[in-house]
Subunit: 376 residues, 2 copies
């Protein structure tokens, strides 16, 4: 496994875990939420502001960056950290998920995937080997295996075929990654909603050996209940002493439910994307800032939040700037949402360390139930 | 005149002046450039970042704010300063200029102007009295008289009629403003490009008596040469011991030429608007960040600039984020442009105080001439 990269479990409470991932670029407290910086920027945020929210690590998207400005250009300019002014750890996805989403525009073979760029229509190919190369050029600290994210729903046969392809690609990813001190490679468990396939996948990955393990193929339309059903057993199949990453999750209650089931890392565009569309996450539910009821409201979004949007601005101001389509609205609501997500993670870290996760979770749900959740 | 509001001239060099305007909300070093915060935000900037660029005062637009969120709402919420989180001085225009620009949608009479809102088509009226009321509700520190900005070109007769209407409105503005300690009222000289009319207007305003005087009716299409011709004499007609404000100016060389001719205050959307369209002002000319020649350039926009865009990012990054239509590009380029403008003002303050304005100006022009000015 990678030297200079480690994971220390500090405490558990039920299945919930808290710990620290150590990397040469800094520590990552877990459970960790990773803001998404798709095109070398967390949209509407300066990186120093992302750090102020409490984020220890960002996620970058291989698919977007390979097309524009290209991995080779980022490498020439000194790597993604320097390019985007974020010196702390970066995890990159493999490009697989976004490429698979290009229905009709991509072709899958044993070798890899060919597709057309959404930017300029040019033809590209990603294989496990090419994905490892791109992520190396970007300078990623945590590299993800190239896999096929099994679509949902899938028949048992489709899921099995897809999972076994991903396991062959996992081996090729491992071989291509080689030995890169200070850089970690994570495997990705597949198997859809089929327990025996999840088991087979977990065993195959551990036979290859990775620095961390992701639970893949979830948050793809199966719904929270079915996702939690899989999370009731899938993380337990993965090594206790390695970080477990649930990709693309999620809403606050998804995140809490995942941590409760033993997940250590998550990422999602939801807090940043919602910030640009006026959806605000608070301790007491979800606000839609565009609603007219906010136009004369002098209160902050969330009385208990210490982010700049809540410290310095009224709901009335945020409503006004949303209606006037002012950029500051995206800046402030994104900041708030990311701050809320990091507060959520810190709350769970503390509760797990104190052995009070059940009480913390009950309080989390109670506050939301009494709050002012607005339909969008 | 207003108590709690003052202007102290510290030094002159030729006609160029440096001094300090004092207000209860803080001092304004002159010559001063006022960033424009049209709809209660300097677009793409947090107010604390605007302050970091060196701005002592912002400009707010009465026309936009009266329509959305309305002056009455801002008053209920505690005033514009609190609403937009800017505790330092704010100057508001009278609404006249924007209303006059609504060709075909507005009607001018002796009483004032009626017009339809660009937001929702509703009917509105601004008179000198209503303009004073709106600016009072906003809590503006420096209030501008309601005037007609004489269109360019105008015949001598048209200009005279327009100027005399503005002078009658100046008296009505003065009467309606009343006595508001700590708040200043500025008169606006009109008279187009006719020297005798500028003289008549300056005398009429001084008879009424104001805390400061604007040179109006310029930067409306007459070009730099004709603007400088008027500025060669118009500021001299105004009191030496009051601030002189040139509205809506301008490009860096417009600003330097205006200060050279005795102007103390200016405002313009150019640095912020240009930031959103990729136009970058530097000591060595103007860059257009969207040009492909920047895509591999590791250099900052301006080697001598200390703004965050120049300290932390390459031209290549700013080019990439512009092409990818990322909000951070607007944030960083606006910050840079406003920082550049404030550096420009500080450079002139220092040079005037040192009696070296002529050398400073020669250096300003020489650096630009040797630079890489790009056509847009």
């Amino acid at each position: 496994m990678a030297t200079g990269f480690g994971f220390e479990l500090k405490a558990t409470d039920g299945k919930a875990r808290t710990g620290v991932i150590s990397t040469p670029r800094g520590d990552i407290r877990t459970p960790a939420f990773m803001p998404v910086g798709t095109a070398a920027t967390v949209k509407a945020m300066l990186p120093e502001s992302v750090r102020e929210t409490g984020a220890d690590i960002l996620l970058g998207n291989t698919y977007h960056l390979m097309l524009r400005p290209t991995a080779e250009r980022i490498d020439r300019l000194g790597g993604l950290h320097k390019f985007m002014n974020w010196e702390r750890p970066i995890l990159t996805d493999s490009g697989g998920f976004q490429v698979m989403s290009l229905a009709g525009l991509r072709k899958l073979t044993e070798k890899g995937v060919t597709f057309k760029s959404h930017v300029d229509g040019s033809k590209h190919e990603i294989t496990p080997e090419r994905s490892m190369e791109i992520q190396r050029l970007l300078g990623s600290d945590i590299v993800m295996c190239f896999d096929e994210c099994t679509p949902f729903p899938a028949t048992e046969e489709q899921a099995l075929e897809s999972m076994r392809l991903s396991m062959r690609w996992a081996q090729r990813s491992r071989d291509a990654f080689g030995d890169r001190p200070g850089h970690a490679l994570f495997g990705i468990q597949q198997g859809s909603t089929f327990r025996d396939q999840r088991e087979e996948s977990a065993e195959a990955l551990q036979k290859i050996g990775f620095d961390g393990y992701a639970v893949g193929g979830l948050a793809v339309g199966e719904g929270q209940e079915m996702m939690f059903d899989v999370l009731d057993y899938a993380p337990d199949m993965l090594p206790v002493d390695k970080p477990r990453y649930l990709m693309g999750v999620g809403k606050p209650d998804d995140i809490v439910g995942a941590v409760k089931r033993g997940i250590d890392m998550m990422d999602c565009v939801l807090p940043s994307r919602s910030g640009r569309t006026g959806q605000v996450f608070t301790r007491r539910g979800v606000l839609n800032i565009k609603n007219a009821r906010h136009q004369d409201d002098p209160r902050p979004l969330d009385e208990d939040c210490t982010c700049p949007a809540c410290r310095n601005y009224s709901r009335a101001y945020l409503h006004h700037t949303f209606r006037a389509k002012e950029i500051i609205q995206s800046m402030l609501l994104t900041w708030h949402n990311l701050h809320y997500y990091q507060d959520l993670m810190q709350g769970m870290c503390d509760a797990i360390a104190a052995g009070t996760f059940a009480e913390w979770e009950a309080d989390f749900h109670a506050k939301r139930a009494e709050g002012d959740i607005e339909p969008l």
